[in-house]
Symmetry: C2
Subunit: 561 residues, 2 copies
């Protein structure tokens, strides 16, 4: 396996006959997928998504791919190819377009509709080019062919990128449901044809590479949905991702059969399903859909609600229902169907919601007690099929944490791809395809770019470190006013604390010590504000460490008056 050396430097310029692949997100993590393909001085971007922060990034709203290395080459970008409409593939498009408006967006009809709706919120109207499976478009030097793939959102595409330096097949996110609900298969005949033509580098979705066997077909969750519809006496509340058109379709169909009406709850659910219905990806049975306001006129046993919040998001409708803090007052006889995966890290929040709903008397059907969700990604068995059909010359696993990438690489090797033709890369690592072989040519800087309120890129590791200290320890503020004439303390020290466990009364103990330290420093002739602040920091920090065994942030302020 070709793996990156820890001390990689910037790569040498690409040779004329080479193709360069640089992942700027999604390799070594799950999210913010973005890959730069380079040939003959031109760039093609595949996907431009966001990563959702975890507890290690307090206060952060979103994490973007880091395209700073390409900041002065944005004009070289021929297009952004979007493989499908999930946030981790399209979410960062507004931020890239802010830096260079007018980069063409290429994608399927549904994908473009979803990204356009998102851009509208950012007041951006993009230049777009809609494509379908089978289409072939020339984007600068990149000759792109689009291939249907099956995923947990309709209209997903893989892309074959032909260049004079070699051909790259990028799967995007995909699985290989052989009996998909909408009949749209991952086009293995196209994969076979492309493989016969010759795929020099195959970029494949690693998300489920560790999972043995095959991903369960979507239709196998219908029995669990039907069971809920058969057994529920009062309302049925379904929580799922707001992009999961097929799941919503299954619920609409079940509701029609059961003579129930369905209302959507939540801005993103209403928006996305509206788009999907308008474009024909969602078929709403006649008269089934109602407005949430109309529910009041219906008896409970004729009501279905579809909402977001399946990950325990505290502000979502479902969490508020679980807290008894929503106009829908969940109670005995109601059933809640959580028809989604449980994203690692969200367990506590999700179980809090489940416990809350059960405490109110509802029945909760979830991944833990019924088959109500299947993954959108190909498992190991499917990936093996893929490798054997495509028979690529070189492989580069994409989309996943390191453990996923390694597992995917081993699958490629198991099908006969030589280890020396499998490149394991992380964000920023530069993989060059030259004369039919891959190598790691260097690395470009690739950090986290944080969206924090209206700030993009303003938050950094120092800020997060401060927030982690404030979170765990709080702070102690010490203010001293120095008389600018005499150089002596005119007021203070004023000591206050927030997020700090002890009562302010405890500072009575340190105040004389601090006063003595200040007097000593002033009598030595110290007048510099920064030096006096150091005196305060040392006196208070040392005392609190010894006395309380904590390390709050110490904020000394010396003011001259």
């Amino acid at each position: 396996m070709i793996t990156p050396h820890p001390d990689l430097g910037l790569p040498a310029p690409l040779t004329d006959n080479g193709v360069r692949v640089v992942p700027l997100g999604g390799l070594g993590e799950v999210g913010r997928n973005m890959t730069i393909i380079e040939h003959a001085g031109q760039l093609l971007v595949v996907d431009c998504g966001v990563l959702f922060p975890d507890d290690d990034h307090p206060g952060i709203d979103l994490i973007l791919p880091d395209w700073s290395h390409y900041a002065d080459r944005l004009d070289d970008i021929q297009a952004i190819v979007l493989t499908h409409g999930h946030e981790d593939h399209i979410g960062a498009v507004p931020y890239l377009l802010r830096e260079r408006p007018g980069i063409p967006l290429i994608g399927s009809q549904l994908t473009l509709a979803l990204v356009e709706a998102k851009l509208k919120e950012h007041k951006i109207t993009p230049y777009t080019l809609g494509v379908r499976e089978g289409d072939r478009e020339r984007l600068g030097v990149f000759d792109c062919e689009f291939v249907a793939v099956n995923h947990s959102i309709p209209d997903a595409l893989a892309v074959m990128i032909r260049t004079p330096g070699g051909s790259i097949l990028h799967t995007g996110d995909f699985k290989m449901d052989q009996l998909p609900l909408d009949g749209r298969l991952t086009d293995l005949r196209a994969f076979a044809r492309l493989g016969e033509e010759g795929v020099d580098l195959f970029l494949t979705d690693s998300t489920n590479a560790e999972v043995p066997g095959f991903t369960t077909p979507e239709r196998e969750i219908s029995p669990a949905i039907d069971k809920v519809f058969r057994h529920t006496e009062r309302r049925i509340i379904v929580a799922c991702f707001s992009s999961h058109v097929h799941r919503v379709q299954q619920v609409l169909d079940a509701a029609e059969k059961a003579g129930r009406k369905v209302a959507m709850v939540g801005r993103s659910m209403i928006r996305n399903m509206g788009i999907a219905a308008d474009l024909g990806y969602l078929t709403v049975p006649d008269g089934v859909l109602v407005d949430a306001k109309q529910l009041r006129d219906l008896p409970d046993h004729r009501i279905v609600l579809i909402c977001t919040g399946s990950q325990g998001e505290p502000m979502a409708a479902l969490s508020r229902m679980a807290n008894g803090d929503h106009q829908i007052d969940v109670g005995p006889g109601d059933a809640v169907l959580m028809a989604s995966s449980l994203i690692p890290g969200n367990e506590n929040a999700v179980y809090r919601v489940i416990n809350g709903l059960m405490r109110l008397g509802a029945t909760v059907v979830h991944k833990g007690n019924a088959r109500v969700h299947v993954s959108g990604h190909a498992s190991a068995g499917e990936l093996l099929y893929c490798y054997n059909i495509v028979q690529p010359r070189n492989v580069m696993p994409v989309h996943g944490e390191w453990r996923h990438l390694v597992a995917n690489a081993e699958l490629a090797v198991a099908t006969g791809v030589p280890r020396g033709h499998v490149a394991l890369a992380e964000d920023g690592v530069v993989v060059d395809l030259v004369d039919g072989g891959v190598s790691i040519a260097g690395a470009v800087p690739c950090g986290y770019v944080y969206v924090d309120g209206s700030s993009v890129g303003g938050a950094d590791e120092t800020l997060l470190k401060d927030r982690r200290i404030l979170r765990d320890e709080g702070f102690i503020s010490v203010i001293v006013v120095i008389d600018s004439m005499t150089g002596k303390v005119a007021a203070g020290p004023e000591i206050t604390a927030r997020g700090f466990v002890e009562d302010d009364v405890i500072f009575d103990e340190v105040r004389p010590k601090l006063e003595a330290a200040l007097d000593e420093a002033i009598s030595r002739g110290v007048r510099d504000t920064h030096e006096l602040q150091q005196v305060i920091r040392r006196a208070v920090g040392g005392w609190v460490g010894r006395k309380i065994r904590r390390r709050p942030m110490i904020i000394p302020t010396v003011i001259e008056s």
Copy 2:
């Protein structure tokens, strides 16, 4: 099912012929198990454990049961019965003994040794009474008989508590491994005998009640351990809980067979396994155990390390190895065996460790890719056996979140316990057993008691709310010095921020607005410090909300000079 009404008040005093059961922890959560049993004015405590905080409790070290309702009745406590030596059953003992030293501790030999080691760190020597399975001890009015149960730590006990008001059987944590590694079965013959005598109230471990079937026997993980020993070329590093004597025994035995030496790493691992070996619960094969320092003289293929850190704890040896920040420099050829469960909420931390170790080239064998751990708790199938053997009159599920308690209650009902004889309670809910029937008699106050550094009970919800704001938003400090003679601003406003995303330069915009607001207030004759602070808070808070769309904590300080 008998369930608590949301607005329960304090219970009426207990009738003479009644027994009262009050859980002060462990019901509605996983951890801090503690139950108070009351009869004839006397109290018996079963377990006294800690709960480990999650992200919702920033900066908190431990969460204790809330025994404040019993603060003036501590002298009524006859004894604390400890069912086994896990932290969530013994960890709060030092804090209770601080309030009333001398409460007798009753438990098995290993349990008492572990709690004594813990108390030694708190400089407390307890009064203890060691018991074995089959023993019967009178503790005030409580006639206690101890029964062997099988769990993920040796020497666990259930306890039958006979009182003139009725008999209560409390399982503690348990499972029913039918081929346990140490041969010590959960004593179903004793359960049968007690059932024939009559169990009026059965308190059973709910942790795995949602899991169908039977918990896999411990010995079925041996093949996975053996495989690691067969295939690893260099070092083997095993991470597990520091109390899991049986798992460590399996590793020691495999090491002996493979001709490897074992070193323990980490204070709690060394301490607990030392205790277990001294008392004969761990059998160390001759010459297998070495000191970590001696590893330098051994070739890699003869080394095994056993350490903690299986939950991704950032300061544990394993996390530091994964970061390349430990004297053990993990690399290709090494294998890491993570032989423990993954506690919900720890996923991100654990996967971070796994990815880090794999990036260094190590093979990582974990729950996700091999059978290297089994649970310590009885699954639904085992609980059914239990109910059918004991045939209790009344049931009260304990130990678990609400969803676990409900699942356990349904199992009792499925075996024929009438719904009206199953009490679902949460922490603080008072369950009375009177004349052979249970009822919910009220609730006692039962909040979280936080240990935060050296403070016990000082942290409260206000403090945590402050920390959550500081974590997500940071703070802006505004200091103004007022001349006490003139009432006018003598210095400032000095505006600084920490944990706040924008550069301080942004405050140039609000400073004139703030100055104007202060001038206006002062010219209106405002002199009160608190009122002026309100002026600052409004001016700065309003501006930052509109401008940055964030809500940092605003800390105004007005000093008179």
